[in-house]
């Protein structure tokens, strides 16, 4: 689960995620009308790289605005990051455009294009996410920062709903929920470019797809999210929604077995203790770097470590939007690797995320 | 009635300098008096006070019976206009006026220019031998000629008193003598009283009476 909408349009006008949603695949891989926020979130490891590719579709208005070719009810935002695990260097690129034929758009099933956006300044190729040969392909380049990725995925395990029928609750409030599914193992191959050198890579990705209209409840200021791919063929997804005082407001998760069957975890089913600190110069936020995750009922005690400390994404397009999204290593009961996302840390905790979530 | 009476006239300038010191003088009508003295002795001031151009600091001045010290500036000016003619060392002709116009200036000032007055101008100029130059610019005249024009100007309104301040001072000896002679003659013809200031003993000798002004004090010459 990641960052969402930025607008103060009344959530009442939008469709809320409901438990009785009728899923159809692959159609539901494309964008949905009526929901305020939707994203496609890819993270993964390939060779010496860890990567993130995220596209957001942000609704501004439920009502169609008449009278102008520039009228748009939707913004498209993209975040892309690459960590060179060998050196620890982390690069982040972003795009933000209104939906407009020249600037950004999203597709409709069955056309291959799912969502696209014009590349950042100085890059002529657009960023896009398409459905090709039965799998996702995503491409992004930032010519100025000299990195690019062009990766294709194939489902290695069936997709998993992160809640009964995909409904993922975020709090005690009935409306605070999203429709959320994951592809916890995607075989990935393609190319990654860094500083002019092109690397052909293979690896493994995790994809989160989430859409909804009301994604943060009451006093929540941010969350910690974990996606871990364990060597015994299981995957673990956990998220913890925090309050301003640092206490936990809501927590939930999913443990996926070797065959892809999910077990939904409640707050009482796991505990996470964080330690370590890395302070970001750019944002002033102080992030933990080490977590102890235990699921006693499932016999799992895991030590999760950031593979590099400086994996923060700071947006320049949206003021006060920054979060830590980094590759992590797992040791303990089982080994593995994965990604951790930390949002709402630092002096502007919750401001951006607050809005309309 | 005397033409001019000075009774213990003193003149002190601003700054304290005493230019005339209790000067007493009586000039009978028709007389020709000369005042001799070195430059800076106050001769010009004496004449200025006599003409009513300047005012005495002390003492009284009578001009044809009129007490100058009782008149205001305007009164003195009008009296002067009527009764006094002036001749200066530097001639003081106006370069932008012709000879005839220079002579006629007092009439212009008095507002009495007329055909008759122009006749008088011509008459006076003829008298001094410059009738043929009447339309010329004064800048073309020699020193002596200029002074002759000045004499005509002084006589234009038939003043009863002529005051001449070093009339030959800017002329050479020969011309000076000629001009002096002319002046004396003209005054005689017009019946005007003449008081003239000079530093030349020779010219002073032509007068009926001579006075010496020395450091502001007037004494009759022996």
């Amino acid at each position: 689960m990641t960052i969402s909408s930025l607008v103060t349009v009344m959530a009442l006008a939008w469709t809320n995620a409901k438990a009785d949603y009728a899923w159809r695949f692959p159609e539901d891989h494309w964008g949905h009308h009526g929901y305020k926020t939707e994203w496609w979130y890819f993270t993964g490891h390939a060779g010496r790289f860890a990567y993130q590719f995220t596209m957001f579709k942000v609704g501004l208005s439920q009502t169609q605005l008449p009278g102008s070719r520039w009228s748009t009810e939707t913004l498209v935002m993209g975040h892309v990051a690459l960590t060179d695990l060998a050196s620890g260097e982390h690069r982040f690129a972003e795009v933000l455009q209104r939906v407009q034929p020249e600037l950004a758009g999203y597709g409709v099933y069955p056309e291959p294009l799912i969502i696209w956006c014009r590349g950042p300044a100085g890059t002529s190729e657009p960023w896009e996410l398409v459905w090709e040969d039965g799998g996702f392909t995503f491409r992004a380049r930032d010519s100025r920062q000299k990195f690019a990725m062009n990766l294709s995925t194939r489902e290695a395990k069936p997709l998993v709903f992160e809640g009964p029928n995909g409904l993922s609750k975020k709090g005690r409030d009935q409306a605070a929920a999203s429709l959320y599914y994951s592809q916890t193992r995607l075989a990935t191959h393609g190319s990654i470019e860094l500083d002019g050198t092109r690397y052909d890579v293979t690896g493994e990705s995790w994809m989160d797809k989430e859409f909804g209209s009301n994604l943060l409840g009451g006093d929540q200021v941010g969350w910690d999210w974990f996606s871990l791919q364990l060597e015994d063929g299981r995957e673990l997804m956990l998220y913890v929604l925090r309050r301003a005082d640092g206490g936990v407001d809501w927590a939930s998760g999913t443990l996926v077995d070797r065959h892809g069957a999910p077990t939904y975890l409640g707050r009482e089913d796991f505990s996470i203790t964080s330690s370590g600190a890395w302070v970001s110069q750019a944002s002033g936020a102080r992030y933990p770097t080490h977590w102890k995750v235990s699921l006693p009922a499932h016999g799992l005690i895991l030590e999760v470590d950031a593979e590099a400390r400086a994996q923060e994404n700071v947006s320049r397009a949206i003021p006060a939007l920054y979060y830590w999204e980094g590759a992590v290593k797992v040791v303990g009961s089982v080994s593995g690797r994965g990604f951790v996302e930390l949002t709402g840390y630092g002096p502007h905790a919750g401001q951006v995320l607050r809005v309309g979530l | 009635m005397s033409a001019l009476v000075f009774d213990k006239v003193s003149k002190r300038f601003e700054g304290g300098r005493l230019v005339l010191d209790a000067v007493s003088l009586e000039v009978p009508r028709g007389a020709r008096y000369a005042v001799v003295g070195r430059s800076g002795s106050g001769k010009s001031t004496l004449l200025h006070i006599a003409a009513g151009i300047e005012v005495a600091t002390q003492g009284t001045v009578g001009l044809f019976g009129k007490a100058l010290h009782e008149l205001d500036d305007r009164g003195r000016t009008l009296l002067r206009r009527d009764a006094v003619g002036l001749v200066f060392q530097s001639f003081f002709l106006l370069p932008h006026l012709s000879v005839a116009e220079n002579v006629g200036l007092p009439a212009m000032i008095a507002g009495t220019m007329s055909g008759r007055m122009r006749d008088r101008v011509r008459h006076l100029l003829t008298r001094v031998g410059l009738a043929d130059r009447s339309a010329d610019s004064v800048q073309k005249l020699s020193g002596g000629e200029m002074q002759r024009v000045a004499i005509c100007r002084a006589l234009l309104l038939s003043p009863k008193l002529i005051l001449a301040d070093e009339p030959t001072g800017n002329l050479d000896d020969v011309t000076g003598r000629e001009v002096m002679r002319l002046l004396l003659e003209a005054c005689g013809d017009e019946g005007a009283t003449l008081v003239y200031v000079t530093h030349s003993q020779e010219l002073a000798a032509l007068a009926d009476a001579r006075f010496v002004l020395h450091s502001g004090v007037l004494e009759k010459a022996p």
Partner: protein
């Protein structure tokens, strides 16, 4: 020597403070006049440029359409270029909110702005989505009485919309010259709310750091081809400046003339001062002072006066410019639809120019005297009359010079018709001729006077006495009067021409239009059409076309209305013109015909949004509404060329006997809330003349300036004369002139100077009028103006000049009448 200088100077100033004050004032006025005009000039351009660049700030490149609007391809091309960082679409909308002008710039607000518009993250979507969302300056919001979140109505064309004040922004933080009427909207909102046609006014491009601007411009321009042009900020400013070129040129020319007058005045003032010092300087030389020391003294005094005068004149100029800036604004707004100039900025270079003028002309003024000083020996200096005599000798030679110059001017005027700046050259030579002829004229005419008494005649006669000083005063007055008369006569003629033109073109009974130069809605048109008692209605549509490199305005009207006489006074009255236009020909306005060299019968190529067209010119007509030029075609032709565009205004002809005012009121009532202006024939005529008067108000500044300068010149001259002619004045007193008489003589001198200056100025002014009307105006604006001297105005000005001359003479005359008799003892006259 320095101590001597200081003491001597202090003594002289103490003796005649008024004199020094006037001299310094003379320098100050000269400097101020230059500074004022330059500031106004500079600010006019800056305001225009600022309005053109507002909000988009310093984008490196702008794409502008050659015709109509840009389509999406412009965005695509801009985005596709490798050097582009961002490309922003821009649409400009002019609206009115009550009395307040809104200059709306609409752009894509999701693009990162470098400007002052920074919305917090949580409101980032508002501008796109909130209906009528607009960002205003604090001042504008205060004037409208809205707070953030509040709504207000605005009008564009005949459409009334509701806008929401979404944010208050300090635009001036990044664009100090941005007028407070600037407002920002998202392009989607602007287009939707105002019902604009799709298409962009501009695409603003920011390039990547270090990109080659010119290369990018060339690349993008090549792809876009004929449809659009790519401009750098300098080129945009130049285009703007080009629009204002004629206006600025005239201002500059006038400023040069005031500069000349100023220098003249400064020169004269210093000459007079130096003249008085000659004796003193002679004595110093006789006592053994070297030439260098004496020259040093002179330079010292001159520079001191120059510095004081400059120090006074610079702030004076700024104050004068500030006080007059709304007059200029009025002109700019009316003629060029610009923003008003709200604040005066004072760039350093203007101050530098002003200082250079002040000090430079002070030095220049002293140069002549210095040359003399260096050449002459000590004795010559003691004789003051030298300069007098030299001018007396020179006078005839100067006259010859004047005559030669005059004839050369005439020949030049005939020969160089086609060279645009010829008019200015001739104007300058006319003034120079007047100046050169002045000494001789003053000398000769004064000699002609045979004074009888000691009165005005004598005053005139004695003008020749101090020829140099008097000639100077007369000449400077003559120049000032020439300018005043010339400009007054030209403006008067122009107004008269305009009035008669209005008579033959404003023929309809009722005129309906919008306040913001927008279009009329269908509802409004229907309401107008339903006006009872209408005999005929003329509908005006406006568009644009390209003729070669030139963009021309195109108007579509109903050319032949039954029972309505022709509304286009033609240069060459011939038959069949209206039929030709109805058949597809076009009329060209006079300014355009002159500038583009067009004549009746010619075929021209016009490019419009619908393609290339060839049309025949049916005739050329007089038009004073704009100096840019217009073409008129019949409605059918217009639609063919431009398309079915909504009308901009409608003129109604009523049946005979119908009450016009009642019909106007009725129409206003039926139009109700629509922001549309209904005027009767009378009102429209009055409005046009009002605009004219407002436009030319700027000339009043120049007139006032010249007047002041001239009066100062007379006062100065007379004051100096009172001192220099002391001996002469003592002589008059000795010869029996009362103080009163001397006073009157002096006042008479002032009056004579005034009269001379007036007469010479009238001659110069007459010549100037012809030049202005026949040459300058034709070359730069292209209008025909018929000479019609505004008798009353000129007579009034003449009386004022004479009165001022007398006034200027009063104080000097008083000084003169107080001349002490000691002066008689001095040696010179």
């Amino acid at each position: 020597m320095v101590r001597y200088f200081a003491k001597a100077l202090a003594a002289m100033v103490a003796k005649s403070p008024v004199l020094y004050v006037l001299t310094v004032l003379g320098v100050a006025l000269g400097v101020a006049s230059v500074v004022t005009i330059q500031l106004i000039n500079d600010n006019a351009i800056a305001a225009f440029a600022a309005s053109v660049r507002a909000v988009t700030g310093d984008d490196e490149l702008t794409i502008v359409p050659t015709l109509g609007a840009l389509d999406d391809s412009a965005m695509r091309v801009a985005l596709a270029d490798a050097a582009t960082q961002t490309a922003r679409p821009i649409v400009r909308v002019d609206a009115l909110a009550g009395e307040e002008r809104l200059s709306i710039v609409a752009t894509d607000l999701t693009q990162p702005t470098r400007g002052p518009l920074e919305l917090g993250a949580e409101r980032a979507g508002d501008p796109l989505v909130t209906p009528g969302w607009i960002a205003l300056s604090h001042e504008l919001a205060a004037r409208l009485g809205v707070t953030p979140g509040g709504t207000f109505t605005a009008v564009n064309g005949s459409r009334r919309v509701v806008l929401t004040a979404g944010a208050l922004v300090d635009f001036k933080a990044t664009l100090p010259l941005a007028p407070s009427s600037i407002a920002v909207m998202d392009i989607a909102q602007a287009q939707a709310v105002f019902g604009l046609s799709p298409g962009l006014d501009e695409v603003a491009i920011d390039l990547l750091d270090g990109a080659d601007v010119l290369a990018a411009a060339a690349r993008i321009g090549e792809v876009l081809g004929e449809r659009a042009r790519v401009l750098t900020p300098d080129e945009r400013a130049e285009e703007a400046a080009g629009l204002l070129a004629a206006f600025r040129l005239n201002l500059t020319a006038l400023s040069l003339i005031s500069l000349a007058v100023g220098v003249f005045l400064i020169h004269g003032a210093l000459q007079a001062t130096l003249l008085r010092r000659r004796t003193e300087l002679g004595v110093l030389r006789a006592l053994g002072a070297t030439r260098r020391q004496v020259v040093g003294l002179v330079i010292g005094e001159v520079m001191l006066i120059g510095c004081l005068g400059t120090a006074l004149g610079l702030p004076l100029g700024v104050v004068a410019a500030r006080a007059n800036i709304d007059v200029v604004s009025g002109t700019l707004t009316n003629l060029y639809l610009l923003q008003t100039v709200e604040e005066l900025r004072v760039p350093v270079w203007v101050i530098a120019v002003g200082a250079a003028v002040g000090l430079g002309s002070a030095l220049l003024g002293a140069t002549l005297s210095l040359i003399e000083l260096r050449r002459e020996d000590a004795r010559a200096l003691l004789v003051v009359s030298t300069l007098q005599e030299s001018l007396l000798v020179l006078a005839p030679r100067l006259l010859v010079g004047a005559a030669l110059l005059g004839s050369a001017t005439a020949i030049f005027g005939v020969a160089a018709r086609s060279w645009a700046p010829a008019g200015f050259v001739i104007a300058v030579t006319i003034l120079a001729t007047v100046v050169l002829a002045t000494p001789w004229l003053v000398l000769r005419v004064s000699r002609l006077v045979r004074p009888r008494g000691f009165g005005f005649g004598y005053s005139m006669r004695s003008l020749g006495q101090k020829l140099a000083a008097n000639a100077f005063a007369v000449a400077s007055l003559a120049i000032a009067v020439s300018m005043m008369f010339g400009i007054t006569a030209m403006v008067g003629s122009f107004r008269a021409t305009l009035e008669s033109w209005i008579g033959s073109t404003v023929r309809a009974d009722i005129y309906v239009s919008t306040e913001t130069r927008g279009r009329l809605d269908d509802d409004v048109l229907r309401t107008i059409a339903a006006t009872p008692g209408t005999r005929a209605s003329d509908v005006l549509r406006k568009g644009e076309a390209r003729m070669g490199e030139r963009t021309v305005r195109l108007s579509g009207v109903n050319v032949s209305l039954p029972g309505v006489p022709s509304r286009w006074p033609l240069l060459h009255a011939e038959g069949g013109v209206l039929e030709a236009v109805a058949g597809g020909g076009l009329l060209v306005s006079e300014p355009l015909a002159r500038k583009a060299n067009l004549a009746r019968g010619e075929r021209i190529q016009l490019r419009t949004l619908t393609g290339e067209h060839e049309l025949t010119i049916a005739g050329v007509f007089y038009d004073y509404t704009t100096e840019q030029g217009t073409m008129v075609v019949d409605t059918a032709t217009f639609v063919r060329l431009v398309g079915p565009v909504a009308p901009s205004s409608v003129a109604l002809y009523l049946n005979h006997g119908v009450d016009i005012d009642a019909t106007v009121r009725d129409l206003q009532r039926r139009l109700g809330d629509s922001p549309v202006v209904v005027r009767s024939n009378q009102r429209l005529r009055a409005t046009i003349l009002d605009i004219f008067d407002q436009t030319f108000a700027i000339t009043v500044i120049l007139q006032a300036m010249s007047f002041l300068i001239a009066v100062a010149g007379i006062a100065l001259t007379l004051l100096i004369a009172a001192r220099e002619r002391a001996a002469e004045l003592a002589l008059y007193r000795a010869l029996g002139a009362t103080r009163c008489q001397v006073f009157r003589i002096f006042v008479g001198q002032g009056l004579s100077l005034g009269a001379f200056g007036l007469v010479l100025g009238a001659i110069g002014g007459a010549a100037l009028v012809m030049v202005l009307i026949l040459l300058i105006n034709r070359a730069y604006f292209g209008w025909t103006i018929r000479l019609a001297l505004p008798g009353w105005a000129l007579a009034e000005q003449a009386a004022t000049i004479l009165a001022a001359a007398v006034l200027a003479a009063l104080y000097p005359a008083m000084r003169a009448s107080r001349t002490p008799s000691q002066e008689l003892v001095r040696d010179d006259l």
